[in-house]
């Protein structure tokens, strides 16, 4: 009797295995969370050192226009003004999104409303393929085609904000387009039918019904594209000119947060002010990606109704 009692009360082999599997899969999930937390911890601890260890005024850092962390001014303060890079990053991001949005929306509307057959056959697969093209390839085309073109058209070196924005425009175009197509497809069919039944022309239906209904999704797509543009490093670094100066016009060499980071981090000594200042730039990048993330969430929440 005891044997039966014991076997009934004992945990079965299957239950033990289940516990084991649960623990293993849980630890995998935990690992991802640990990675996220430690990325924030390490980048923040390095990035904040500029302000707490090197005693740089955070306001001077954000608004100063001279970036030369190795040099000091008459008061012995280092030149760590990040404004040129912050401006550069925001400029290329907004410009590229500004150019890409009408093209992306137009193409997406064409693919879903005007000519679904051709859209599915040609445009769909091509945009999907282009989403996967590595960013250095975009940068290489920028260097070999776009920069000489800009040089011939606008004079100067050809490197600058405008070249960076154009490269980013082509880079985010497929992403924004394919996300917009998905939202347009999600607009229920009876919206279209009701609009047409009321006597609306196709354009009235598109403009007054479909685009209105898909606004949250389109906004999400654009913000997503902006987040990608803001964080893109190499493609921009190759064409922007890498001069940490306040951009005078769109065709003069400039710099972005990412371009300064990719160039500088290997040439500075760990723990020095030059190095810490670069980590502060990385921290700005990190916080901005959080901001983009929050915006996307807010749009999704509002759009869900």
């Amino acid at each position: 009797m005891d044997e039966i009692r014991e076997s009934l009360l004992k945990e079965s082999k299957a239950a033990r295995r289940d516990k084991f599997g649960r623990a293993i899969s849980f630890s995998a999930l935990l690992l991802i969370v640990v990675v996220v937390v430690s990325i924030f911890y390490f980048v923040a601890s390095k990035g904040l050192a500029t302000f707490f260890v090197n005693k740089v005024n955070i306001w001077d850092f954000l608004t100063g226009t001279k970036w030369a962390p190795g040099q000091v001014d008459a008061h012995g303060k280092a030149f760590v003004g990040a404004a040129p890079m912050i401006t550069g990053s925001f400029l290329v991001t907004f410009l590229s999104a500004l150019i890409a949005t009408p093209f992306a929306i137009g193409t997406a509307v064409f693919m879903t409303e005007i000519s679904p057959k051709r859209g599915a056959k040609i445009l769909g697969p091509v945009t999907e393929l282009l989403v996967g093209i590595p960013s250095v390839v975009y940068g290489f085309i920028g260097v070999s085609v776009l920069v000489p073109f800009m040089r011939a058209t606008f004079g100067g070196s050809g490197f600058g904000i405008l070249s960076g924005s154009m490269v980013l425009f082509v880079m985010i175009l497929p992403t924004v387009t394919s996300m917009t197509v998905d939202t347009l497809k999600a607009v229920p069919r009876h919206y279209r039918e009701s609009a047409l039944a009321l006597g609306a022309t196709r354009w009235q239906m598109i403009y007054k019904v479909i685009l209105r209904g898909a606004t949250p999704g389109i906004l999400t797509a654009v913000v997503f594209g902006m987040a990608r543009a803001f964080g893109e490093a190499l493609a921009v670094q190759m064409v922007v000119g890498n001069a940490a100066l306040m951009p005078q016009n769109l065709t003069s060499p400039a710099a972005t947060l990412t371009s300064v980071l990719t160039q500088g981090i290997g040439n500075t000594v760990m723990g020095s002010l030059e190095n810490n200042a670069l980590w502060s730039l990385a921290l700005i990048l990190l916080l901005m990606s959080l901001v983009f993330n929050t915006v996307i969430r807010a749009i999704a929440k509002k759009g869900a109704m």
């Binding site: 299957a14 295995r17 289940d18 599997g21 649960r22 899969s25 849980f26 630890s27 995998a28 999930l29 690992l31 991802i32 969370v33 937390v37 430690s38 990325i39 390490f42 137009g106 509307v109 064409f110 005007i114 445009l123 945009t127 999907e128 393929l129 282009l130 996967g132 590595p134 960013s135 250095v136 940068g139 290489f140 085309i141 070999s144 085609v145 175009l173 022309t201 196709r202 354009w203 009235q204 987040a227 803001f230 964080g231 893109e232 490093a233 190499l234 670094q237 190759m238 990412t258 980071l261 981090i265 290997g266 980590w279 990385a282 990048l285 990190l286 990606s289 959080l290 983009f292 993330n293």
Partner: protein, 296 residues
């Protein structure tokens, strides 16, 4: 202008926009392939790179790209699989903690890859003293790859109908046994698609690798397959410049006399690889689905 005229104008404008986008995209693809493909030759694909003279190849970089991809997948797939299983099969979907974890994964996927690379540099290259190595690079790429792969595993598991789970439970199987013996085999085709698609992304990534896997490609001795030798291709502690990093480096340094030709060829190789990954994903998922189910 009345409504009908507006409709016509709008249609024409939309045609123009779509046409110009097709033109841009076609010019892009055409440029890379037309510029790059003539440079492709057996010599170009296998010879080591030369820094100061023309006529170098991309052999070592090509091997590094594939090897790094392999090591990255080796590390990231088990973690993503575990996390995906927990999220879809065990986690309480309504609990706040699960929501928080999902947010964390989303944030990780939206981080700029250069920040992920810098974190890898700080922690693994400097603190843990792994140096510029394949291992550091693979770990950085794992962080970059994990959120996408986890999400694709989770979504593949979600498409399996609950009937299967209930049937497993009714037969007296534990949840784990149901997952391993029923759910995973059913979800395998779409999991494989997810892996291959994310492989395409990892293959072309460069920003996360510059400061982790390094920017130098020491000569390899392809006759030496002992992973502990310095010049062995299998050694995971050697610095390894990949194809994407190579394109970036020769373009920004400008020392190599035929940099434009080499990067055109290398870009073509990258794009062809991405194309192949896309086709492979489609083919594998179809053929696996046919093999694992009774559908014809």
């Amino acid at each position: 202008m009345n409504a009908k005229q507006a409709d016509k104008v709008a249609t024409i404008v939309l045609y123009v926009i779509a046409g110009s986008v097709i033109l841009i995209l076609a010019a892009l693809l055409g440029y890379i392939l037309i510029q790059g493909v003539p440079h492709l030759s057996w010599h170009f694909l296998t010879a080591p790179a030369t820094a100061f003279t023309a006529g170098g190849g991309i052999g070592v970089q090509l091997f590094n790209s594939f090897y790094l991809l392999f090591i990255t997948m080796l590390i990231s797939f088990p973690i993503a699989l575990g996390a995906g299983i927990y999220l879809n099969e065990y986690a309480n979907q309504k609990s706040r903690l699960t929501g928080l974890v999902r947010t964390a994964i989303e944030i990780l996927s939206s981080l700029p890859s250069v920040v992920v690379g810098l974190f890898g540099f700080l922690l693994f290259v400097v603190q843990f003293k792994l140096g510029f190595s394949i291992l550091s690079g693979a770990i950085a790429l794992t962080f970059f790859n994990l959120p996408l792969l986890t999400r694709s595993v989770e979504e593949s598991l979600r498409t399996i109908p609950n009937l299967q789970r209930e049937a497993g439970a009714a037969l007296g199987l534990s949840r784990w046994e149901t997952v391993v013996h029923i759910i995973l085999p059913a979800a395998l085709p779409s999991i494989v698609t997810g892996i291959v698609l994310s492989a395409g992304r990892v293959f072309g990534e460069a920003a996360a690798l510059i400061y982790t896997a390094g920017q130098s490609a020491p000569a390899l001795n392809f006759a030496d397959w002992n992973p502990f030798n310095v010049s062995s291709p299998l050694n995971i502690m050697r610095p390894a410049e990949t194809l994407a990093v190579h394109i970036w480096k020769i373009n920004s340094e400008g020392i190599m006399p035929d940099a434009a030709a080499v990067s055109a060829g290398a870009s073509a190789v990258l794009i062809i690889a991405v194309l192949l990954f896309n086709f492979l994903a489609r083919y594998l998922s179809n053929s696996l689905y046919k093999r694992l189910t009774a559908t014809k």
